[in-house]
């Protein structure tokens, strides 16, 4: 029993060959240049000799006839030393890594993976151990390290800890100022008044509830602070109050609308209503996030059909908080709806019936049963809308007008004012706010999440909504649907109209313009998105599999990392990638590679969630049975899990592709001449006022995404049906 040779011999050999045959560093950006001076042996640094020596040692040890576990221990040492020495050399000399380093590092990581498995230090075979290692390294390099670089840029200047830049940024009027000397009103006084009023109201409520004096005083102070914050948000200017005020409008609106739609979807008496909600839930997936903002210009802008055409007003009112908030509500309500749909549908009607048989009236039932069960879903929807609103980039870019927002300031300070420290400081503030919301949500819902998940929907009739309320909600839905539909229609019409608002005669001019200026970019984007979707899906599946099926040291770290990459606003991640990969050993910028990597790690969490949900449906003893039949875990993945999850995986793949196609904030920093992306180009056209051309591109984007989803989902169903047929 045991292994005669260690499986590490092959990767060790690969590492040696890579080290000898390929350059360890490279002189500049291009990967494929071979500089004879940058071969590992030509540089002759002791650390590099150590890399070669440990690879040779690993090869020899692998082939020695030793008991499996102690040999594994020796190989762990060799692998760790080799990998560590190589990385240390790169860090010390800040030489961009070359192909040789890539091959040698991969080889040594594989050696380490085999060794960890054979030594028994990681439970699982070489594939599992290597996967754990590589996933952890990826999380470290492409999620944690870039975010660390943002912190570093904000707080470290010329090698020393220095708060001055951060203080200058948040002290700047672009960030926050209250008293505007040129305005007629007294902002500070008004804000103070808000503080006093809210404080007194809160204390009065406490008195009314007959609370004790310390509680009343505490309420007074808390209410006062809340009032001051609200006042500052309302009267203040700058990115912070603007973003917060927008959030304060958008999050409650999205949550309420989401709840209304979820109630209708679950309990409406009319089938068409429920069907239309299915469509609404798919729309944001196929639409680039700022398309609706752009369409709002057509409908509500200075020459908008509704504003100018119907009411004959020509105003700029949508540029600023109202427009951004409206665009965000349209964009994020479907997300809130999806979250709440789950929690509404998990409400077990039997619970409400049980309460009623125990003598609770409708109002008591609502208060004691329904509300506590829906609350986690509401909280999740609220906080997610908050996060989306804070992180949103496209809508404020288009409709922000003279107001600045945190997410756009990150971009503008780097690309407009060329101030990396300022961009990092904005990034830190934005990240802190988003993570705060995120962890409040996790903390609030963590542990005792009492969503009644029982798998099968239980019997019992759903209590229909009272008719008056249903009519009201349906009216809201109809207005919503008409508005959104007219937005989409206006994009299509706009793409064929000579000049919106002036000359509505039909033309194909915009499509011809698009074909010359946009089509190559569109194809390139599709290629990049397709390339990024595969690793995003595979990596997501792998992480989901490792995290949900294996216990290993560092599991928390991997989970945390993928959570972080999900929660981090796109602009912050984009700027983080600039800081992390613009110089030094990990030089990757100005290439398709960096765009692909950004998209991979952006879309990985979505794939993880899909795969975790899929894996939860599969009895783990199937995998154990496969292991007990002496299949290695890779074989188990390929022969057992993959066929069973084909549907989930294809769906994950297609969503990764579509969201890579429509992503904008995380890649806007990373595009370069020759690496232009469709959404970034589209955003540029909208900003330059090339609305017809932009509408043409928007139409093509939406239609092609819709077709992709429909075709691929249909294919996936055929594939999975065939897999089942062939195998059984």
């Amino acid at each position: 029993m045991g292994l005669r040779f260690s499986g590490a011999w092959l990767p060790a050999l690969i590492a040696i060959v890579g080290f000898l045959a390929l350059p360890f560093g490279r002189p500049g950006r291009p990967f494929l240049t071979i500089d004879p001076n940058l071969y590992g042996w030509a540089i002759g640094h002791p650390l590099l000799w150590l890399v070669l020596a440990s690879a040779l040692a690993a090869l020899v040890i692998s082939l020695l006839k030793l008991p499996t576990s102690p040999r594994g221990d020796l190989l762990v040492v060799a692998g760790a030393v080799g990998l560590g020495a190589g990385v240390l050399w790169l860090l010390l000399t800040a030489t961009p890594f070359g192909m040789g380093a890539l091959v040698a590092a991969t080889g040594m990581a594989l050696v380490l993976g085999h060794a960890l498995s054979e030594s028994g230090r990681v439970q699982g075979d070489a594939f599992i151990a290597t996967s754990i290692l590589i996933v952890s390294l990826f999380v470290l390099l492409f999620i944690i390290y870039p975010l660390f670089m943002v912190l570093r840029s904000a707080f470290v200047i010329e090698g020393a800890f220095d708060l001055s830049q951060f203080r200058r940024t948040i002290g700047h009027p672009l960030f926050f100022f209250l008293e505007n000397p040129r305005s007629a009103i007294d902002e500070v006084g008004l804000t103070l008044r808000w503080g006093v009023v809210v404080g007194l109201l809160s204390a009065g409520w406490a008195l009314f509830r007959r609370q004790r004096l310390p509680v009343v005083l505490a309420r007074l102070v808390l209410g006062g602070v809340l009032g001051l914050i609200l006042g500052a948000m309302f009267y203040g200017r700058g990115a912070l109050p603007t973003s917060l005020l927008t959030v304060a409008i958008v999050a409650p609106a999205c949550t309420l609308l989401g709840l209304a739609f979820a109630l209708l979807g679950q309990r409406s008496r009319f089938r068409p209503v429920r069907r239309s909600l299915d469509v609404i839930s798919v729309l944001p997936i196929i639409t680039p996030p700022f398309i609706l903002a752009f369409a709002m210009i057509f409908l509500l802008g200075r020459r908008g059909i509704i504003t100018h055409g119907v009411f004959d007003i020509s105003s700029n009112w949508i540029y600023g908080i109202p427009g951004v908030a409206l665009a965000q509500i349209l964009a994020f309500t479907p997300i809130a709806y999806l979250l709440l749909r789950g929690s509404i549908s998990s409400l077990n009607p039997a619970l409400e019936e049980a309460a009623q048989t125990l003598g609770a009236g409708p109002w008591t039932t609502l208060k004691t049963i329904t509300w506590p069960l829906v609350r986690p879903g509401l909280a999740a929807a609220f906080l997610l809308s908050m996060i989306e609103s804070l992180a949103d980039f496209g809508n404020p870019m288009i409709l922000g007008g003279d107001r600045n927002f945190l997410a756009t300031e990150v971009y503008l300070s780097l690309t407009g004012r060329y101030n990396a420290h300022e961009a990092a400081s904005y990034g830190v503030v934005l990240l802190a706010l988003v993570l705060l919301a995120f962890f409040v949500q996790r903390w609030w819902l963590g542990g005792g999440s009492f969503v009644t998940v029982t798998g099968k929907p239980s019997g019992g009739a759903l209590a229909p909504i009272p008719r008056a309320i249903e009519v009201l909600l349906s009216a809201v839905l109809v207005v919503w649907t008409l508005f959104v539909a007219s937005l989409y229609v206006s994009i299509v019409v706009g793409s064929f109209a000579q000049l919106w608002g002036v000359n509505y005669s039909l033309t194909t001019r915009h499509y011809r313009d698009f074909m010359t200026a946009g089509w190559p970019v569109f194809l390139y984007t599709a290629r990049v998105a397709a390339i990024s979707a595969v690793p995003a899906m595979l990596l997501g599946f792998l992480v989901a599999y490792l995290v949900s099926r294996h216990r290993f040291w560092g599991r928390r770290f991997v989970e945390f990392g993928s959570l972080l990459s999900f929660a981090t606003p796109g602009t912050v991640m984009g700027v983080a990638y600039i800081f992390a990969f613009n110089t030094g050993p990990w030089l990757l910028t100005a290439s398709a590679t960096i765009i692909i990597l950004a998209l991979v790690f952006r879309n990985m969490p979505v794939a993880i969630r899909a795969a975790v949900a899929g894996l939860a449906q599969i009895d783990p003893s199937l995998e154990e049975a496969s292991t007990m039949l002496r299949a290695r875990s890779f074989t188990t993945l390929r022969r057992v899990l993959f066929p069973l999850l084909v549907n989930t995986l294809v769906t994950g793949l297609i969503f990764a592709f579509v969201s890579a196609m429509t992503a904008v904030s995380q890649v806007i920093f990373l595009v370069s001449p020759g690496n232009q992306l469709a959404t970034v180009l589209l955003l540029g056209w909208v900003e330059q006022g090339q609305l017809g051309r932009a509408a043409a591109m928007g139409t093509i984007l939406i239609v092609s995404m819709l077709l992709t989803i429909l075709v691929v989902l249909a294919l996936a169903q055929r594939i999975s049906a065939r897999v089942v047929r062939v195998e059984s």
């Binding site: 029993m1 045991g2 292994l3 499996t68 576990s69 594994g72 498995s117 054979e118 030594s119 028994g120 439970q123 699982g124 075979d125 009895d619 003893s621 199937l622 154990e624 049975a625 496969s626 292991t627 007990m628 039949l629 002496r630 299949a631 290695r632 074989t635 022969r639 057992v640 066929p643 069973l644 897999v723 089942v724 195998e727 059984s728």
Partner: protein, 357 residues
């Protein structure tokens, strides 16, 4: 054994030796607490105990699905404690059968041979052989979901045997079957195991199943072994009160033992057991109590209640303030009244001594 070698070639049963095995989950949960156990070549050993006693954990440790926190696992003198599961020549039959839903019966059974990279010809041969062994030759092309529970169970068994394991593990394999089928399948398993002479470890919480199927039974409680022995030993000479209570049912009565005679409830009875003189707990199986015929030795008891169960009647008596329950064949005292006094005696078997509480 000879027959077996013609049915399945290449099974060489191994011994399993557990030394000081400890398994902790997290910081607080001690699932297996310092277990030593030697499993003989070719025997069927059952791990029996209530849920959470650590029996399944031991099985998974032997399989390599869990890593021991401390201690060693030896298979034929090879230390496999740190060896990954797929390198141990062991396989397992799962409680849920774990048949791959996307494969038919043939593919399920072929799986282990296929992933070992054997040629097509050999795969066909070995699958046919294994299916014949469990009597499912006809079903090779069926979908697993079209089989009954008992048939699925046999597919799982064939799938395990086809890779010629040196040790076969069973994780509560019968718990998803109904009572009647359970009896038949367990006889099939036992028959096959003896024919192949394959070393087997069997986990169950059903004491009747354990007694029926095993060469030896290990009774476990809270991560430690309470007693190891043949089914007969465990029933007639339980080492602890837990074992006596878990296997069958028993009365526990205070008594004294002087090396030759045990004094229980004022009733003197010759008894031989290797136990020091002094106070003891006397375990009396309910079926070891019968009515004393006139003139026979015995003791006085007061009738409290009874329940007629057909072949036997369950009685509850009061003996000097201690409640004693007995199952006595026949209807006996169908017209007794509460408070009637009777004379009872113990049979020769079914009485055993335990250390005092």
């Amino acid at each position: 054994m000879d027959n077996a070698s013609t049915v399945i070639r290449g099974i060489t049963p191994a011994t399993v030796d557990l030394r000081g095995l400890v398994k902790r989950f997290g910081k607080d949960v001690l699932a297996v607490d310092d277990v030593d156990l030697f499993i003989e070549r070719g025997e069927l050993l059952t791990l029996l105990g209530p849920s959470g006693c650590g029996k399944t954990t031991i099985l998974r440790l032997i399989a390599g699905l869990e890593r021991p926190t401390e201690g060693q696992i030896l298979i034929d003198d090879d230390d496999v404690s740190r060896l990954p599961a797929y390198l141990r020549d062991i396989t397992m039959v799962f409680q849920s059968y774990a048949l791959f839903p996307h494969m038919n019966v043939f593919e399920n059974v072929a799986y282990g041979v296929r992933v070992a990279g054997r040629p097509q010809e050999e795969i066909r041969e070995r699958v046919a052989e294994a299916l014949a062994m469990v009597g499912l030759e006809e079903y090779a092309q069926r979908s697993t979901s079209a089989l009954s529970g008992g048939q699925q169970q046999r597919v799982a068994l064939a799938r395990a045997l086809v890779i010629r394991p040196r040790v076969l593990l069973f994780d509560e394999p019968l718990s998803n079957l109904d009572a009647k089928l359970r009896k038949r399948v367990r006889e099939d398993i036992r028959e096959l195991q003896q024919r192949l002479g394959i070393t087997s470890v069997y986990v169950t919480h059903d004491q009747e199943e354990a007694l029926a199927i095993s060469d030896r039974v290990v009774v476990m409680n809270q991560g430690v072994i309470e007693q190891i022995g043949s089914p007969h030993e465990l029933y007639t000479r339980p080492a602890t009160r837990f074992v006596a209570d878990f296997i069958g049912s028993a009365n526990f009565l205070p008594g004294r033992y002087d090396g030759r005679v045990v004094d229980v409830l004022g009733y003197q009875r010759p008894h031989e057991q290797d136990l020091p003189s002094g106070p003891v707990t006397v375990m009396v199986r309910p079926e070891a109590i019968e009515f004393a015929r006139p003139g026979e030795e015995g003791f006085e008891a007061t009738y409290l209640s009874s329940a007629y169960l057909g072949p036997v009647t369950e009685f509850i008596f009061d003996v000097t303030g201690v409640e004693v329950f007995a199952t006595i064949s026949g209807s006996g005292m169908s017209r007794a009244e509460r408070g009637d006094s009777v004379r009872l005696r113990f049979k020769d078997v079914g009485v055993s001594l335990l250390p005092p509480d």
